[in-house]
């Protein structure tokens, strides 16, 4: 289940749960003055913690490395299409609000929203 390189501009190594060596795909886009940080799960090429489980810990590491402020960015998690026969490996994008309660923390993006960000 190799993830296509189209999903990221760089591989971002990070310390996952219990400091496990982990990796994700990373893209940063600026649209209308707003920074969109897109982290992509790499499955077999991520030796450690998933981007979702790492959550805020990963976001903080990206912000530190890229000199960003968490409150200033739109943080998106991407589970990429892996061309698996199994439907639960389809492409999905979720916006994560680390300051919201659990019920409102994740919001799935529509295809149109994704297109607008990635065009």
């Amino acid at each position: 289940m190799k993830v296509s390189a189209e999903y990221y501009d760089e591989i971002f190594p990070f310390k996952g749960e219990w400091d496990m060596e982990s990796s994700c795909g990373l893209k940063i886009r600026e649209i209308d003055g707003k920074k969109y940080v897109i982290v992509t799960e790499l499955y077999q090429d991520n030796p450690g913690t998933s981007v979702t489980y790492a959550g805020r810990k990963l976001a903080d590491q990206i912000c530190e490395a890229k000199n960003l402020k968490l409150e200033d960015i739109v943080y998106l998690e991407c589970t990429p299409n892996t061309n698996s026969k199994l439907s639960f490996y389809d492409e999905e994008y979720f916006q994560v609000d680390f300051f919201a309660d659990m019920q409102h923390k994740y919001r799935q993006l529509s295809k149109e929203e994704v297109m607008r960000i990635l065009k």
Binding site: M1, E17, W18, D19, M20, E21, Y43, Q44, P47, G48, T49, S50, T52, Y53, E77, T79, L86, S87, F88, Y89, E92, F94, M102, Q103, Y106, Q108
Partner: protein, 441 residues
């Protein structure tokens, strides 16, 4: 070094209602025990087969936990020992999966595999500088360092049903190169298949005083050459064994059969001819098949599940085990359902794979629960689970008789089941049948 008395405990969990319960000797605690230095004197209690004597003299306590349904009981046990002023360590699979919560309940959490690492924990405890977390995640010890388990710690009579000794669990490898949707093994043991050296496996297996084993490796079908070498090497031991999937290759299946393959767990995930043929091929080589059927994935509708249940009648499975998808932490399934806000039950006691803890995509939780109950009822309607198990047991006993390795039932334990008395009265037989029927209805 003075002797240190360590109380090693495997906490109990609630078994699924209505199902035949067999208690197998747990592997994790005795694998951990084998990594402790000689000056540690271990007293082991598997709470599933005997009660804990909290007042038994000990210096330190270690909890070994495999299942998510063990963790809350583990925390309660830790509390009891804390009242007695004892330090409590925790390790094992579910400790790793639930480590964030575990640190709040025990004095020290061990993450990872313990070969070459456990003595440091003991020394730190002795020197009064026990760390809250020993973190070896992603840093596995050399696979060559995995040695024989401390099976001498088992009270064997407690793993015996009416004179028949239960299988011993055995690891021929660790890790997994697959990373399946509902599974956390790649997180726990590394996303790499790590086969043990075959000579070590043979030596280890030969030393087990039990002719029946369960090779609990996630899948043996990960490295064909190693698999062939393994089966060729263990054949002379004449052990009979259960395992998960074996490579679907005539040469490998033939070697497996000659090496003593008794029956395998095979996932039945659709109604394809491939599955039908896969089961047939195992049977062609004299290997039994227990189908494992997982319900509740997002690609399943009610009709899909009903078709799958009907399909089982066509493929001649020896046994079937049904489970409901459970979003265990550190699986993709957990991440997906968490993001989608579909997990409604975070009580770890309910993560027993027989209870719905999330909103299924294509049906209500109640409907999924009903279909799960219906599957058990339907599959075992004409012949009970215990009866089907007995037939598999007869198959292996006959093979052992032919090979001269059959051991008579232990007459001392003929009226015992896992340490408890068996009531063989007619009335009891009726009660069992009735209770099974209740479940089926």
């Amino acid at each position: 070094m003075d002797t240190i008395k360590l109380k090693l405990i495997y906490p109990k969990w609630n078994k699924l209602p209505g199902q035949t319960t067999f208690n197998l000797p747990p592997h994790g605690p005795v694998a951990f025990a084998a990594t402790l230095p000689e000056y540690v004197d271990i007293s082991f209690t598997d709470e599933n087969v005997e009660p804990i004597d909290f007042d038994e003299e000990c210096d330190v306590v270690a909890l070994s936990m495999m299942l998510t349904t063990q963790v809350k009981r583990g925390w309660a046990i830790a509390e009891e020992y804390h009242k007695r002023g004892k330090k409590v360590l925790a390790g094992g699979i579910s400790t790793m999966l639930h480590a964030e919560e575990m640190v709040n309940h025990v004095d020290s959490v061990f993450l990872g595999e313990s070969e070459g690492r456990s003595e440091q924990v003991i020394l730190d405890w002795k020197n009064g500088c026990l760390k809250k977390i020993y973190n070896f995640m992603g840093n596995q010890p050399p696979i060559e360092s995995v040695g024989p388990c401390r099976r001498d710690l088992y009270k064997r009579d407690l793993y015996n049903h009416k004179g028949v000794q239960m299988v011993d669990l055995f690891n021929a490898s660790r890790g997994c190169r697959f990373s399946c949707y509902p599974c956390a093994v790649s997180y726990l043991g590394g996303r790499k298949f790590r086969p043990r050296p075959v000579d070590k496996v043979v030596e280890d297996m030969a030393g087990i005083d039990n002719n029946r084993l369960f090779i609990v490796d996630n899948s043996l079908a990960q490295n064909k050459e190693w698999e062939k070498e393994l089966f060729t090497a263990i054949a002379p031991l004449k052990k009979k064994w259960i395992s998960h999937t074996i490579e679907d290759d005539p040469e490998v299946l033939d070697l497996a059969a000659k090496a003593g393959a008794w029956y395998v767990y095979q996932a039945v995930y659709d109604t394809s001819d491939y599955i039908k043929e896969r089961v047939k091929r195992y049977h062609d080589y004299g290997i039994g098949v227990e189908g494992t059927i997982l319900f509740g994935l997002d690609n399943q509708t009610e009709d899909d599940i009903k078709r799958l249940i009907d399909f089982l009648g066509e493929i001649d499975l020896d046994l079937a085990e049904f489970t409901i998808f459970a979003p265990f932490p550190h699986t993709k399934g957990h991440d997906d359902l968490l993001r989608q806000g579909r997990i409604f039950d975070f009580d770890w006691d309910h993560y027993n794979a027989g209870q719905v803890v999330y909103q299924p995509k294509n049906m209500s939780p109640e409907k999924l629960q009903d279909l799960y109950d219906y599957a058990w009822k339907s599959f075992y309607a004409s012949e009970t689970q215990e009866s089907k198990m007995f037939r598999l047991f007869c198959n292996v006993a006959l093979r052992e008789m032919e090979e001269g390795t059959y051991r008579q039932r232990d007459r001392r334990l003929i009226n015992k089941s896992f340490g408890r008395d068996v009531d063989r009265s007619v009335r009891n037989v009726n009660v069992r049948t009735e209770s099974q029927q209740l479940k089926l209805n």
